[in-house]
Amino acid sequence: MADLFTVEITDVPLDVPARTEAFPRQAQTTGAVVSFVGYVRGEGIQAMALEHYPGMTESSIRDTMDSAARRWPVQAASVVHRVGTLSPGDPIVWVAVASAHRAAAFSACDFIMDYLKVSAPLWKREQSLDGSWSWTEAKSADEDRAERWGWQKQGRVSA
């Protein structure tokens, strides 16, 4: 039987239909699957590069999935996140959540994305049309969304 909670960081292009096909559901009890795909937008950029902290990125996302499963009755969840060099239109991240009912599936998927954005050690650089690379700035809107779920910003002085 497939593992019901999985995290994968990969430098291989993300095949969303294949991931969708392989996502484990339970024929008797799964009533809802919500999935999210984030894509590289091409406005003003010609490429994106993503790096991570091997081991910590996976454990951080796994912690987020465990938190989601404590808050809602999640039956299965998968996260696949790209690293390496990507082009406009490429999928960056795929998140899928299965539950008996849609409310839990929507909330858990939304929650996982919000927490991933602010707590998984991943960093983006973008290559502008003139060829220069620059690091992407963290967005306060992402912190605002994470705070909806009780997330608290961490920094030099921990809570």
């Binding site: 790096e51 998984a120 991943l122 809570a159």
Partner: protein, 81 residues
């Protein structure tokens, strides 16, 4: 202790890790020690309150203790997803 640096910090240091001996007792002391020996750009980056420190792959505050054998990394705010 080899302290790992990620993303912009790695780029500023020109290296994926920095060797620190002896090992300071806390994250704050470690941060200070690395900053003192770093280039002005890396020092400024390390002193940014938004730069995180992870000890054994968990984000911790500045008062967290550090000991020989711990895995320690510094990195800027996350921008994944």
């Amino acid at each position: 202790m080899e302290v790992q640096l990620f993303a912009r910090l790695r780029e500023l240091a020109g290296a994926e890790s920095i060797s620190v001996t002896p090992v300071p007792a806390s994250v704050a002391a470690l941060r200070k020690k690395i900053a003192a020996e770093a280039s002005p750009e890396l020092r400024e980056a390390l002193e940014d309150p938004n730069v995180f420190c992870a000890v054994n792959k968990r984000v911790v505050g500045d008062e967290h203790p550090v000991a020989d054998g711990d895995e320690v990394g510094f990195f800027p705010p996350m921008t994944g997803g």
